[in-house]
């Protein structure tokens, strides 16, 4: 089938020299990274290619050019058009992987995972699917699942190593929460936010003191109101705050790893 397409394309180019020249022009613009003009010329090629021999190819190239320009919505739209005109399962699956990559970049985890699941039956390289699942979770800062799928894929050892190091450095949101629940401010200390921890501790000691004093002096209503309206609000806020700090720190760590991989990793990237 692939050979037949190549023959049809060669025949089209030989009998429609204008179309052939137009393809060369568009390809050269794409190769020189002039993506805006490349899109225009691929669209012109598509418009005058009455035989529709290059329909899938031009749509795919337009999609790639839009992706380079960070127009992800448009890129997805053209990859989908390319799928409609694709002639082999292999081509269709590869184009679907391109759409998965766009979902990954856009942090659309559910869409990426669902498309990868739908490829399970037809995609021949199963470990590739796990590889892209790993990227999907990594872009969502879910290092645990990311590590699991990269491990399963067995094709990204350096990423696995980096993720294992990262997992050791990560803060536990549960520890942060429990620490702050036992002693207000300690969860913040655990995540390295000393000032915030001291402020939390101060407020809780002050308001707790007022509440306890009110109860001991048998001013029950005042005690209940201060406890419920003021002290408990600060106490709950302190626990939530500690958890947020841990999560934020973990996101920062994962983000640094992600940036590092995007700049230095030699394998396929979204």
């Amino acid at each position: 089938m692939k050979n037949l397409i190549i023959i049809i394309n060669l025949v089209t180019i030989s009998i429609f020299p204008q179309v052939g020249r137009q393809k060369q022009l568009a390809d050269s613009l794409f190769a020189s990274e002039n993506f805006y003009q490349a899109i225009t010329e691929y669209k012109r090629l598509q418009f005058f290619d009455l035989q529709k021999s290059f329909e899938s190819f031009t749509n795919s190239q337009i999609a790639k050019a839009y992706k380079k320009g960070e127009f992800y919505q448009k890129s997805e739209e053209y990859f989908r058009k390319a799928i409609e005109n694709s002639v082999s399962d292999e081509e269709r699956n590869n184009l679907k992987i391109e759409i998965v990559k766009i979902f990954i970049i856009k942090s659309e985890k559910e869409k990426a995972l669902s498309l990868l699941d739908s490829l399970e039956k037809s995609y021949f390289e199963k470990n590739q699917l796990d590889y892209w699942r790993g990227w999907t979770f990594l872009f969502h800062y879910d290092t645990e699942n990311s590590l699991k799928y990269f491990n399963q894929s067995e094709i990204a050892k350096s990423i696995v190593d980096s993720l294992e190091i990262l997992r050791k450095k990560e803060y536990s949101p549960t520890i942060a929460k429990i620490s702050s629940a036992i002693l207000p401010g300690f969860g913040q200390f655990y995540t390295g936010n000393i000032t915030s921890g001291l402020i939390s501790l101060g407020w809780n000691v002050l308001l707790g003191g007022i509440s306890v004093n009110a109860f001991f002096s048998e001013r029950i209503i005042e005690g209940i109101l201060v406890t419920d309206l003021l002290w408990l609000r600060f106490y709950r806020g302190n626990i939530h705050n500690a958890e947020q700090f841990a999560l934020e720190k973990n996101v920062k760590l994962a983000d640094n790893l992600l940036k590092n991989l995007q700049n230095n990793y030699k394998g396929a990237l979204p």
């Binding site: 025949v11 030989s14 009998i15 429609f16 020299p17 204008q18 137009q22 899109i39 225009t40 669209k43 012109r44 418009f47 005058f48 005042e222 109101l225 309206l229």
Partner: protein
Amino acid sequence: MKYFLKFLFVFAILSEFSFSQTNLFDYENRLKFAKNLFQEEDYIRSFDEFIELSKISSNDSLKLWAAISLRKMERFTESEIYLETLFGFSNLEDEAKTEFFQLKFLIEKADEFQKNYENKEIHPEKYRLELLRLKYFSHLFLDGKLPDSTSFINSFQQENQPEIAKLYNERKSRIEKNSQRAAIYSALAPGLGKIYTENYSDAITSFIFTSIFYGLSTYNLSNDSVWKGIIFAGIGAYFHASSIYGSAVAAQHFNAQQKFEYELRLKKYAETYNSFLPNFEPK
């Protein structure tokens, strides 16, 4: 294979004959392509193509279409510049002027549109009635007095009149909340201003919180706990002040929300009828 090659040879000769004259970059082909880009809503590229074509031909339609492409991309100022080049010297002057008014209307400055409308010199002769409709419609976006209902509604085509009458009456009967009044209400009784602005749950919260802290303050002051009385009075005053300020803001928010929803419907309606103006888009 032999027959296939023969067929290929004959086809190539015929194709060479029919395509030897085809140049994808000649005027006709480029125009077709530009129009196709416009239909596909790729306005940035259709604009480029219309501009390149206008370098080859002095056809004023190209400038008009370039301006429309810019308008579609919401690049209104640039669009206006292209339209103004067609004023006074072009056979598409009326079309350009009509487009110009549509731009003024779309920039969401109904007052600016009306100011421009006062300048009769730039009225498009051919589309005077359509422009008058748009002028009437622009009144619905403004806060001032509305024109007389009969002339307002009758200026529109019969099919539009029921909906226009509905929009007109809604605009006329719109009641706005006064932010000063809301603040005064909340100063008199915490939360009362929020009832006036129809934020009932906020009103209850404001009333409860302010009353509790004022109550605690009174209780402590009457039991000789002066410093605690002052702290609770401060907290109560904070909630009271928040209620006053919040009520004033809520009144403004109420008005803005009401206006926003109404204008959204107006815009949607205007879009359905292409702002009541003729369509000069490339076909």
